[in-house]
């Protein structure tokens, strides 16, 4: 049990690594990268240890359960749940208590708030995914980021990210989860804006932070409400995730509160996990280095929202009445995201953006899965998606690193790379097939289970949505593979297109131009770019081992990860290990359905076939958008990303920043301030009148002459000073009089 009880070490190690890299990283021989790799490697080992011990724990519990000797655990587990849930729990088999540790963080108003760990199957799974992919990205980056202008900072940020993400994962309470959540947002901001010299990069970083922060309005209020959910049920508030889940399932919390809690948290999920309508930051986030996109914006941070949904699932289950079927907010958001994300992937020229929109669409599947009551399937999809999407992103990085002169433009700078980059090609292809859901790769199993759940739980509409999405996924990924790896190599063409330019100059200019365009170049614009590029210019070639080995590892997972829950062969390990047995809701599990599986694979193959026919064979309506007005309008709508960016940037932000903020400021300067200034001026005038007529002419009339003379002499100097002071005196007296009178009356 050592690994489970000491799982707090898993986030702590990279946190220490962050501090070390920050303080001494630049002086180390490998500029801090060795510290980062070692730390996350250690975390990975710890996470694996925890995973093995958890599996052992589950096996022990089941063994004990079978012997009937572990009745106590059963009773304890049942205590938190209402009697009505007992039936569901029996279906789950043995009760496996999470391993928790807790210590007081601070005390405020008699309320004790803590930090702690809650290690269960879900947390263990997530720790494994985060540390594994982080480790691979750390290794990959030693080559990919070699010679970068802020190499050490990059590794410091990666370490901080890993630590924050793991803090979020192991959190035993929603407040700690929120802390980790905000910190990964900070790291995302830092890494998207890694090359902040160019404005588009810092714009993208700001956009990402502000958009997710908009969602965090929901998270903030939602987390606050989880505290009061527990208070309603037990009389004492708490952020503890177990307590929240128990309270939500206890039936003692009003539905209204649960609904609003779920809705608020859903807003947080929408922001963080790139769901419609707050998904617009994710494609822009591709401005960051590609390994970062793989780690943060595909495999881990963006699934934090889904993780939150899975972690406090009973709140959503009860709040959205997921058991009832039909339609609910969560399923709807996920379903819409599946389609709108996939549609946008078709009109991208930038391979990273194709993958970004694909990520949005796949995150939609996960949220939809949670929304239709397919908890295990959604979490399983989170698991498999992490591997094949990281695989694809790192593959795209490999292409740009060694095949396309740091460009990500599929149409201009790639093509025909399958022969020169065989490893990258093969691993990318595996990732593509896994993403498309082709039997028996990882994506097939998880996606199929989501669709199965949607169909069986009374969410037929979302079954259709999922199938349409599967078709689109297969089609746009085939298109992507075509542009990158097939056809003629188009990279470098423009360097020789115009013979009047010396090729060398052209390359430099080309690079400068690309650097202006944020995502085309992962490198710095001027000096270092030359130094770095020297070794890479010339013909495309396969990337070195530091890049291809992570690709191979990930593609192995992309093939085999799905077999953890290959229900067709009666393997349900993932469900057995990951699905909570304490304070959980009675989610249903359905037997594998060969008919549906065949249909969904057929649909995916149809998507691949359609793309193949269109791109390879040149069949179908080529260049339709140039001939048909309706198609043109449709394409434009997609290219403009449904005009959502315009809505947010120009209308919302534009309105807040310009008219609204200016109006508020105008109000400040001209209304509030003028009330004051005119009061001042009026009082001064009154004071002058009093002084001139009452005091000087009346009381002091005798020495009139002297008074006038001095008044005139010092007049210019004293106008402001005496005037203000008189005003002050007047105000003071007037105030005292008025107030005293009021007191007199009232008293």
């Amino acid at each position: 049990m050592w690994f489970l009880e000491n799982a707090w070490l898993v986030p702590l190690v990279p946190a220490v690594s962050f501090a070390v890299i920050l303080l001494v990283g630049k002086r180390l021989p490998k500029q801090g990268s060795e510290v980062g790799v070692a730390a996350v490697g250690a975390s990975f080992v710890l996470a694996c240890g925890a995973a093995l011990q958890w599996i052992q724990r589950v096996a022990d519990a089941e063994g004990a359960d079978a012997e009937g000797g572990h009745a106590l655990a059963r009773v304890i587990g049942a205590l938190g749940r209402s009697v009505g849930r007992l039936g569901a729990e029996e279906a789950h088999g043995a009760v496996v208590e999470p391993v928790t540790r807790h210590t007081t963080w601070f005390q405020n108003g008699g309320v004790e708030l803590g930090v702690g760990i809650q290690i269960d199957g879900l947390a263990v799974m997530m720790m494994f995914v985060v540390t594994l992919i982080s480790l691979l990205v750390h290794v990959y980056s030693t080559e990919y980021m070699r010679g970068d202008r802020r190499f050490t900072h990059y590794y410091a940020a990666l370490s901080l990210f890993t630590a924050s993400m793991l803090t979020l994962v192991v959190a035993d309470n929603t407040l700690q989860l929120l802390v980790g959540w905000e910190l990964v947002g900070l790291c995302s901001f830092m890494l998207i804006g890694h090359w902040w010299e160019e404005k588009p990069n810092s714009d993208a970083a700001l956009k990402a932070f502000l958009t997710t922060r908009t969602g965090d309005i929901g998270l903030l209020t939602g987390v606050i409400m989880t505290y009061f959910v527990v208070e309603r049920a037990t009389g004492e508030g708490s952020f503890s995730i177990l307590a929240v889940n128990e309270a939500a399932t206890s039936g003692e919390v009003g539905h209204t509160l649960l609904f609003w809690t779920a809705a608020a948290l859903l807003l947080g999920i929408i922001g963080k996990s790139g769901q419609f309508p707050l998904h617009t930051w994710l494609p822009d986030a591709m401005a960051g280095p590609t390994p970062v996109s793989a780690l943060i914006h595909a495999a881990t941070m963006v699934v934090a929202g889904v993780y939150l949904g899975a972690r406090v699932y009973p709140v959503f289950w009860e709040g959205f009445s997921i058991d009832d079927g039909g339609v609910n907010l969560m399923a709807a958001v996920g379903g819409i995201t599946v389609i709108i994300g996939a549609a946008l992937a078709f009109v991208q020229d930038d391979v990273k953006k194709v993958l970004a929109y694909s990520t949005i669409s796949q995150l939609g599947y996960m949220v939809m899965g949670l929304g239709v009551g397919a908890w295990t399937a959604a979490v399983f999809h989170l698991f498999t998606h992490a591997f094949f999407k990281a695989n694809l992103f790192l593959g795209a990085g490999s292409v740009s690193h060694s095949g396309s002169h740091h460009s990500f433009d599929m149409k201009k700078d790639m093509g025909g790379l399958r022969t020169v980059m065989p490893t990258t090609y093969r691993t990318f292809l595996i990732g593509t097939l896994a993403l498309a859901g082709i039997f028996p790769l990882a994506g097939f199993w998880s996606k199929d289970e989501i669709l199965l759940g949607a169909g069986e739980n009374g969410y037929e509409l979302f079954l259709v949505v999922g199938l349409v999405g599967a078709f689109m996924t297969a089609a746009y990924m085939t298109r992507c593979v075509y542009y990158v790896f097939f056809g003629e190599y188009r990279g470098g063409d423009h360097a020789h297109a115009d013979p009047s330019h010396a090729a060398g100059d052209e390359v430099v200019e080309h690079h400068l131009a690309e650097a202006q365009d944020r995502h085309e170049d992962d490198r710095l614009p001027v000096a270092t770019a030359h130094a770095h590029d020297d070794g890479h210019h010339g013909a495309p070639h396969e990337s070195p081992g530091l890049i291809t080995v992570p690709l191979v590892v990930l593609s192995v997972f992309s093939v085999f990860a799905g077999f953890l829950n290959a229900t067709a062969f009666d393997i349900e390990k993932f469900q057995e290990w990951v699905e909570p047995t304490v304070a959980f809701v009675p989610v249903e599990h359905h037997a594998f359905d060969w008919t549906k599986a065949v249909i969904s694979v057929a649909i995916a193959l149809l998507g691949i076939g359609a793309s193949y026919a269109y791109y390879w064979l040149g069949l179908g309506p080529q260049r339709l958008a140039e001939r048909n007005a309706v198609a043109r309008a449709g394409k434009r709508f997609l290219v403009e990303k449904y005009y959502l960016d315009h809505l947010y940037t120009d209308v919302v932000v534009g309105f807040v920043k310009a008219p609204l903020a200016r109006a508020a400021y105008w109000f400040n300067q001209h209304v509030i301030d003028n009330v004051l200034n005119y009061t001042g001026r009026g009082a001064r005038a009154l004071g002058r009148v009093t002084y001139d007529y009452v005091d000087q002419k009346g009381v002091d009339g005798v020495v009139n002459g002297i008074g006038l003379t001095t008044g005139e002499a010092g007049g210019a100097v004293r106008t402001i000073q005496t005037g203000r002071l008189q005003f002050y005196a007047f105000l003071l007296v007037a105030a005292v009089v008025v107030f005293a009178a009021l007191l007199w009356v009232a008293g």
Partner: protein, 509 residues
């Protein structure tokens, strides 16, 4: 006398002695003047550290280091000083920030130079600030409260920017107006509240009486006077307009002290005087205070977005941040008031740091126009990163101090004290949560304008100093505290909790 009796008086008046010595030294002896000021503030801080060490944290709800002597018999006013868990952190903050300001000033004297007058004023200011946080008698409190006013008036008026005259007079009159109202409130408390043993200005006795013998109407009226006095100081919308002008024109150190300590006098007044002495009226007023607080949060943020001057932007952000503090207070719960005190300290450190940075940016570029700045990270990377750190702290990133002022304040609004309108406060909660997004907006916008990108052509070859030794000495302690309080909030909550609970108990929260 025991150390525990004279420690507080020493902490209050030692800077005064220093000011006297500084005034006796000829103006030309600049080095000596600076040394005396430094030694004085250092000694004062030493005394406060001694108090921190000696403070009994298990009894932080009770008054400690108490001294209660005869003073002005004719009005029953006594020299009564003492601290509890609420005063202690603020007293420490005051001594701490003043010391750092003296260090920062070492080679940053604004025109027209004259370190003698500048430092003497700063020391006098410290007397007022420290005194306000330890006074337990209303007259004593009032005097210290007013002592603060004059040095700041001269600091802005003499060492300020081009529009200093207007700004300083506005600051002076505005706050003095509030003070007059507050004094009336104090007098009314003296005459109207039934205290066993006769009329008194003693704050302890008045808090225990809790407005006994007042009709609801009178209590509300007296509260109005106190409210004006404190709300102007905080400042709350719509009484805030002196603040941006004062900050913009004030010299760097003046801005730092203004933001870090002076604003807290107002919020401290609410917690120490208005709430416990007039609890019934506080309940009537709380929804309105909460309303003004959340208006301030949004309005301050919008004001920030409209600025083109870095320092003025930071000034407006104070309006927004103090809105969170006041929201916490308005809930009348222990949770909210604890958050408010945390917010005061956090805002003092973070916004103080931001003003330091704005000062150093101006020192380097001779401008604070956001449109002309850019690429600070290229020319002065350390300063740029510190700015990023402070911006993140200011927008309430968890793990840094700012978060613990904001989050619990928002949380407390979900469930305010009994008798307050719950739905109204929940609306405030949502508005405040929206305010956190706007805060991120203007701070990151400023960060992008100042730090990211490349330097503008006019400054491409400018000679820019990165953080120098004086700046490091002044800033590092603040930066460390921002981080440490963010990670271990209990360092502060642990001190304030008992004292706050006592106040909040009156409201059944």
């Amino acid at each position: 006398m025991e150390w525990s009796e004279w420690a507080l008086s020493l902490a209050v008046f030692l800077p005064g002695v220093g000011a006297l010595i500084v005034m006796l030294i000829p103006r030309a002896e600049e080095q000596l003047i600076k040394t005396v000021a430094l030694v004085t503030t250092l000694a004062t801080f030493g005394v406060v550290v001694g108090i921190l060490a000696d403070f009994d944290y298990d009894r932080s709800g009770e008054l400690q280091f108490e001294l209660n002597n005869r003073w002005i018999d004719v009005i029953n006013s006594r020299y009564h000083v003492a601290i509890d868990g609420i005063s202690l952190p603020l007293l420490a903050l005051s001594a701490f920030v003043t010391l750092l300001c003296v260090i920062y000033s070492w080679n940053h004297f604004p025109e027209p130079h004259n370190p003698k007058a500048f430092l003497a004023l700063m020391l006098v200011l410290e007397v007022g600030m420290n005194g306000t946080f330890v006074a337990q008698d209303l007259i004593l409190f009032f005097i210290f409260f007013e002592v603060v006013l004059l040095p700041m008036f001269f600091m802005i008026g003499v060492w300020g920017g081009p529009n200093r005259e207007y700004a300083s007079i506005k600051f002076f009159l505005f706050t003095l107006f509030g003070s007059a109202m507050m004094l009336l409130g104090f007098l009314a408390l003296y005459f109207k509240v039934d205290v066993p043993g006769g009329n008194t200005f003693d704050m302890v006795a008045l808090s225990e009486a809790a407005g006994a013998g007042l009709t609801r109407g009178t209590a509300n009226l007296i509260f109005a006077g106190l409210f004006l006095g404190f709300a102007i100081k905080v400042p709350m919308f719509p009484f805030h307009t002196w603040l941006p002008d004062a900050h913009t024109e004030a010299p760097t150190v003046g801005s730092v002290l203004l933001a870090a300590i002076l604003l807290k006098l107002g919020t401290y007044g609410f917690v120490r005087i208005a709430l416990p002495m007039l609890p019934d009226a506080a309940e009537d007023w709380a929804p309105w205070i909460g309303l003004l607080a959340v208006i301030g949060i949004v309005y301050g943020a919008l004001g920030c977005l409209a600025q083109s001057d870095m320092k003025r932007l930071i000034a407006f952000s104070s309006v927004a941040h103090m809105g969170f503090v006041m929201l916490g207070i308005a809930t009348l719960t222990d949770f909210g008031i604890n958050a408010a005190i945390f917010g005061m300290v956090a805002h003092g450190l973070i916004t103080g740091m931001l003003f330091f940075l704005a000062g150093s940016v101006q020192h380097n570029f001779h401008t604070r126009e956001l449109s002309r700045l850019g690429g600070l990270l290229v020319q002065a990377p350390k300063m740029g990163w510190i700015l990023g750190f402070c911006a993140m702290a200011s927008l309430g990133l968890p793990g840094l101090a700012g978060f613990w002022g904001e989050f619990p304040a928002i949380l407390s609004a979900f469930s305010p004290a009994e008798g307050l309108p719950v739905e109204t406060f929940r609306t405030y909660m949502v508005v405040a949560a929206i305010g956190t997004v706007l805060a991120a907006g203007y701070l990151l916008w400023m960060l992008q304008k100042v730090a990211f990108g490349t330097p503008k052509p006019e400054f491409e070859h400018a000679h820019v100093h990165d953080v120098n030794a004086y700046e490091w000495t002044a800033w590092l302690p603040m930066l460390v505290l921002i981080l440490v309080l963010g990670i271990f909030p209990n360092l502060l909550f642990g001190v304030t909790d008992d004292a706050v609970t006592q106040i909040a108990n009156v409201f059944g929260g």
